[in-house]
């Protein structure tokens, strides 16, 4: 019962956050000077044009009425129609979502692998130059955001030493017909490893750019937790029993030290997803973020609104899942 109550309370909080986010996007777009119609029309539109467009999009009604109309639509899965692309927003946005999800998950996997390896190496060689070097690298990685790492990667592995692709999601020459928008998974499941390798070669640079700062955070926290665990009595016991240092760290310390890192990864994953907006732009990757920037440039109000709400939904769902996982993993919270 306790657990159910916890879940319900957390769910209610998430819904409040989401509703708040929806209201803010709606209000920001409409209240701030320069009404949305002015945003949609090219400069030099006549007053008559503005009037017509306002009626067409229901913008002549009060904000509260507009919000109700929009909300009714959203609850039925209708996010309106994109002005620049003339297609339903829900369709466009859901079509791009897999690209962004694949990129985010790939970045997360790289970050966990890289950060974990850095933490374990530094712990194994603690007090040596190796640890010092990893600390310095981590400090650098953390000081500079993904956008700049992306540019550095473009220079290093796109120009100086062209190992990977720096634009797009797949080579046009592949000519492969996809049935879903999950290119990475679909090519793998259909056993087209050549296509899969091509997609990975496109995704690796943007994913790595997103992963570098997160890897550093993971590495720092995990190393700290590991070191704290290594001082505990049961580890000393294992050591007196003659286990090797590697197996002590991997089998005794790691399982106990990993919980704070898991929570951190959950929280940081939303920041990583937020980072895809500019990284997709930088690498001309056809995902949600790239579409969002185009929507802003084209002054496509319904599309912007739909994308921002989808991001907010994504963030809220991830945060909710993280909290629930944490509660399930941490026995102290389970009975709280």
């Amino acid at each position: 019962m306790q657990i159910l109550r916890r879940i319900l309370i957390r769910l209610a909080a998430s819904l409040v956050t989401l509703a708040g986010a929806a209201v803010i996007v709606f209000v920001v777009i409409r209240v701030v000077p320069g009404n949305p119609v002015a945003m949609m029309l090219p400069p030099g539109a006549t007053a008559e044009d503005i009037q017509r467009l306002q009626e067409l999009y229901g913008l002549d009604k009060s904000i509260f009425q507009q919000f109700l109309i929009w909300l009714t639509g959203v609850l039925q899965g209708d996010f309106g129609t994109s002005i620049s692309l003339r297609q339903p927003v829900a369709e466009l946005v859901l079509g791009r979502l897999p690209a962004t999800l694949e990129l985010s998950v790939m970045a997360l996997v790289i970050a966990v692998g890289l950060g974990g390896a850095m933490a374990l190496t530094a712990t194994l060689w603690r007090g040596t130059r190796t640890e010092g070097a990893i600390d310095v690298a981590g400090g650098m990685a953390l000081s500079v955001p993904d956008f700049l790492w992306g540019l550095v990667l473009i220079l290093l592995f796109g120009v100086l030493w062209p190992l990977f692709h720096i634009s797009g999601r797949i080579s046009p020459a592949q000519g492969f017909e996809f049935h879903t928008n999950f290119y990475l998974w679909e090519s793998l499941l259909r056993l087209r490893f050549d296509v899969w390798a091509d997609i990975v070669a496109h995704m690796f640079m943007p994913a790595l750019a997103l992963a570098i700062p997160l890897a550093a955070i993971i590495s720092q926290l995990l190393k700290q937790s590991l070191k704290e665990t290594l001082h505990l009595d049961y580890v000393t016991l294992a050591r007196t029993k003659g286990y090797s240092e590697t197996s002590i760290i991997l089998r005794e310390a790691l399982p106990n030290a990993i919980l704070p890192t898991l929570t951190l990864i959950g929280v940081q994953f939303t920041f990583l997803i937020g980072g895809t907006v500019i990284i997709e732009r930088l690498f001309s990757y056809e995902g949600l973020g790239n579409m969002a920037i185009d929507a802003v440039i084209n002054r496509d109000l319904p599309l912007i609104q739909g994308i921002v709400i989808l991001f907010a939904l994504l963030f809220t769902v991830v945060n909710f899942l993280v909290d629930m996982t944490y509660a399930a993993l941490n026995p102290r919270l389970r009975h709280a």
Partner: protein
């Protein structure tokens, strides 16, 4: 057995000097840009397009770091770009700090419904990707320096509010706050005179970090062409052009990127250094 505490200390010396040194040079360069720039940053010379930097073959010694596709001097544009980057860092950073810290202080000290309202607002803010939020705000507000500053303040006040709220909450529990109130100070007086000085070090460190973030946000906005006017010299705008022609003219990307990278790194190192310096646990 090795000591777990020992290695938390990082090298304080050279890191802070290098960061401070670069920022000092940059401030000078920004202030003196109109006098030390070899060329007008807007002047185009279509016969001198994409000239490489002087040490490469085919360069023109008049253009130290080469020219972009329109024949504009890369060095002069970087120097002038520093003016915008640093102005935004200073103004947007300070405003964000003032607004966020004030809200955090009030929420942390008074608690109750004020705290609840601020915390809910912070939660809602965390549900937006910051870059997307900034771009959206610029689209609504229109481009220009004022819009960029407003956008940075609006997206980033939560950073200060969160930290300062937590600090103020901790301080509000302390005995000295209770004794100040017994001694007859008003509640607001207590906040200003007793709590603020104790959270100030954390605020200063955060402010330094925030300046680096402001520089990045401005660069990102000018990268997507939503900052100031299109041909104004901005690091982000230069980087956008350099990205597009990276295979033909690497220098158009490399030099502004290096300036931006060092600046962001310096602000961040300085902020981290200050944080360590003020943190009694680490000292």
């Amino acid at each position: 057995m090795r000591d777990a505490r020992g290695e938390i200390r990082r090298l304080p010396g050279p890191r802070l000097w290098l960061a401070g040194g670069w920022l000092a040079i940059l401030v000078l360069a920004a202030l003196l840009a109109p006098w030390i720039s070899p060329h007008d940053p807007l002047a185009q010379d279509l016969f001198a397009g994409r000239l490489p930097p002087v040490w490469e073959a085919g360069a023109d010694p008049n253009y130290l770091l080469g020219t972009d596709s329109l024949g504009r001097d890369v060095l002069s544009r970087i120097l002038h770009g520093a003016r915008l980057a640093l102005s935004i860092a200073l103004i947007a950073g300070t405003l964000t700090c003032l607004i966020g810290a004030t809200l955090g202080l009030i929420a942390g000290y008074y608690g109750g419904w004020v705290d609840l309202a601020v915390s809910r607002l912070v939660d809602i803010w965390m549900a937006f990707p910051p870059v997307l939020f900034a771009i959206l705000l610029i689209a609504v507000l229109g481009t220009g320096v004022t819009s960029i500053i407003i956008a940075i303040v609006v997206i980033d006040w939560t950073r200060f509010a969160r930290v300062v709220r937590a600090e103020a909450m901790g301080q509000a529990q302390m005995d000295y706050v209770a004794s100040a109130q017994v001694a007859g100070r008003s509640r607001f007086g207590t906040v200003l005179a007793e709590i603020l000085p104790n959270v100030l070090p954390a605020i200063v460190a955060l402010l330094t970090l925030e300046m680096g973030i402001a520089v990045i946000v401005e660069a990102i906005l000018s990268f997507v062409n939503l900052s100031v006017s299109t041909d104004a010299p901005t690091w982000g705008g230069m980087i956008a052009e350099g990205r597009a022609s990276v295979h033909q003219a690497w220098w158009v990307l490399v030099f502004p990127l290096a300036a931006l990278f060092l600046t962001v790194l310096s602000f961040s190192q300085l902020g981290e250094g200050l944080k360590d310096h003020f943190d009694p646990v680490l000292r």
